[in-house]
């Protein structure tokens, strides 16, 4: 299950780069995010509420930033447990490119689910995950452009 997309963000590359690592901005951008705390420069813990098909669950897990090449590239990885609903994990490779005062963000994301969500929601995972990934980057753009 792979997803990708591209956004033009009306903010300089350094602003975008900083924002991606800012827990306050991430909290607002991750769909369904209820809590997000930074535990180190690259590690965060999060609680996210998601609905996939007939299964609605609250996931608690970790978000990690990896392979950072400031200010051009990084990888965001997340992994969460949803109790009896199963688990979800995923990641996104993010590239930032400067275009005048603006920044072009591209991403390739992948997601994997297991347990009840996979069993009952498998038909909907692809579309739901693609929508969630897109919503995350759209929210990020929104937060940055508002600010």
């Amino acid at each position: 299950m792979d997803m990708s997309g591209e956004y033009r963000i009306a903010a300089p590359i350094q602003t975008v780069w900083d924002a991606i690592q800012n827990p306050d901005i991430l909290r607002g951008a991750i769909p369904g995010c209820e809590e997000l705390e930074k535990t180190s420069d690259t590690d965060m813990t999060a609680k996210v509420s998601l609905k996939i098909g007939p299964v609605k669950a609250k996931f608690s897990g970790d978000v990690t930033l990896k392979d950072m090449v400031a200010p051009n590239a990084l990888k965001i990885e997340g992994e969460g447990k949803g109790g009896i609903a199963g688990f979800a994990k995923g990641g996104a490779d993010v590239q930032l490119a400067e275009d005048g005062d603006e920044t072009i963000l591209t991403y390739q994301a992948e997601a994997q689910v297991g347990g009840k969500i996979a069993q009952l929601g498998s038909r909907l995972i692809q579309s739901t995950a693609a929508k969630l990934a897109d919503k995350f980057f759209a929210n990020l753009k929104g937060e940055l452009e508002e600010a």
Partner: protein
Amino acid sequence: MTDQGIGARVLRKEDKRFITGKGKYTDDIVQPNQAYAAFVRSPHAHANVKSIDASAAEAMDGVEAVLNGHQLTGDAIGNIICGWGITSKDGSPMNMGAWSALATEKVRYVGDAVAVVIADSKAQAQAAAEAVMVEYEVLPATSNVRDSMKEGAPQIHENAPGNQIFDWEIGNKDETDAALASAHHTTTMDITNNRLSPNPMEPRSAVATFDESEDHYTLYTTSQNPHVARLVLSAFYNVAPEHKLRVIAPDVGGGFGAKIYIYPEEIVCLWASMKTNRSVKWTSTRSEAFLTDAHGRDHVSTATMGFDADNNIVGFKINTKANLGAYMSLFSSSVPTYLYATLLSGQYNIANVYCDVQTYYTNTVPVDAYRGAGRPEASYLVERMMETAARELGVDPGELRRQNFVREFPHQTPVIMAYDSGDFAGNLDQAKAAADVAGFAARKEEAAKRGKLRGMGYSNYIEACGIAPSAAVGSLGAGVGLWESAEVRVNPVGTIEILTGSHSHGQGHETTFAQLVSERFDLPTENIQIVHGDTDKVQFGMGTYGSRSGAVGMSAISKALDKVEAKVKKIAAHVLEAAEDDIVIEGGEVKVKGTDKAMGWHEVGLSAYTAHNLPEGMEPGLKEGAFYDPTNFTFPAGCYICEVEVDPQTGVTEIVQFTASDDFGTIINPMIVEGQVHGGIAQGIGQAMLEHAVYDDDGQLLSGSYMDYCMPRADDVPNYTVSHHSTTCPGNPLGMKGCGEAGAIGSPPAVINAITDAIGNNNLSMPATPSRVWAALQQVSAAQAAE
């Protein structure tokens, strides 16, 4: 004579309780002081269990206990075993991996249980199960044979290098190779038999009660074979000694193989009942059933069939790779071997057959027998090969079969089986006439005018039922004997109880078994009661699977009836002062032939129990038992013809006609036999067009509910035209062959042969969904465009 004997369409005695909602299934049973079990199951296909933290769950309302696998093994509960040993080509035994009812170190499929919560209510147990925190170290997983056999694949069991369980062969390789090398024409195909989930409508359930005062256990469970369950629970799983364990399988809502096996949940409920000193009930949800009921089929094969210049088959060579899942289930090893490869000669006279089979572990639920068990896989392979070969040779598929039919019996095949009887050409002719094969060309033309592609496909299946004799199956590796037992009790008032080791879970034994007695003693079936499914009532039995209850179970009853009849005649001859040979039993009386001397049937019963006037030295009472071990398998066979219409725009396929001609030997109740065939055909159509148990590459089950696993609905299947053309089975006293699985064995190749005929492309796999059929049609168009 009674009109309720052999061959009569007697309405079922058991129906009244089912149509009024009074059936008694396991989940309907409530014991005093009953608690509920909920299992904590792995969401990962393959992982090490690092820790289990039950503290939060234990503190929750109503929770009696949270138990894990270390406690289970600590109490010396044994590992779950496979009861049929298979020896590899090189003489080594199969690599059976350890399977604990609750996983301790490692989980190997999604749904593998690691702990159980026992609580006052179902809701409390489920809530607490969610609160058990299990820490997993996730390992790479494999969900199919292709990945399991790769170098560097995740190792599922330490004792099975490369995940291989065994590498087995049957037949003569060198002679088959030589025959194929010299063949005038060869047909080669890659054939996949899709993985299925059995789905009896009643989910599995267990209610276990430990009685501390007697050190005694009672288990109500959804089993096809309660005595085998008791034996295995006692001898191998060490739950309780046999004389301290009563297993009752009450009304059971369908089995289809899935309820043969003794599952972890039954073991755990019994053990937990002892641990908590409460009755413990567990009933599977459908979601759990998809994850944990043994699946069926899942074979990948390559086959080559060779013909001489006159289109006679000269050799048949097959390689099959079978997925047995994460653990070896009870009969799993026998399915892709002795229940499969021994039928690869089909209905045909083939001098040389060779098959080798490799089986593998994967991170999926165990795979075991499902309606037909090995025989559907064999019949699908043979009959697709025959149809494809006929197309390649440019001959009529029915006639290619006819010319190669076995015609003389007994017939020894190169793959163990000795066919005892049959009239394959008779079944072919009967089916062709009923299906109006002669009118097919006109129907095809008419369909074409409506824009539809019409196709017809044959399947001439043969299968083997009533696996026996015990000594023979023992020599092939079976851990049990496959006889059956019966006891006939004639009460002092003349009513009769038949105790049988067979188990009815939809087959209508309460009716057909009574018909057998009615026929013998000319008594109405309402005076005859069938008792089954309780180890305290019936001493021992092997249960119902493999279409064995008629040929084996009823033969045992027949043998016991012989003994009762002999004693009745002795008593009557003594009382009526006549010769035993002159005594006849009819019309509710026991009479002296050609005279008006007679006693009522009930008077003979009463005489046996008052014992006032019995022959010298005769014991009182009228109760006889028999254990019957057949001399051979039985060989039901038949011809199925399917006709379909495909919409070339969408690939949507409709079955417009399905015709069956079966040879089941003696038929006791045609109504019930037809019902068995209907149901079998529907399951076969399900396999051919709708059903597929799918795991993703990480071992997550994607077809885990009725939203994603496509069960046949009423509007997916046609009316069936079912007829019989029978030869008598010489191997048992009743001449019966078995009818329970034939429909599911014979129908898939007929359906696929019809669709491939319609679309003009042999490259089509089950299930033939509209998208697959459409894709196959596009291949044809692309090939035509290229020309």
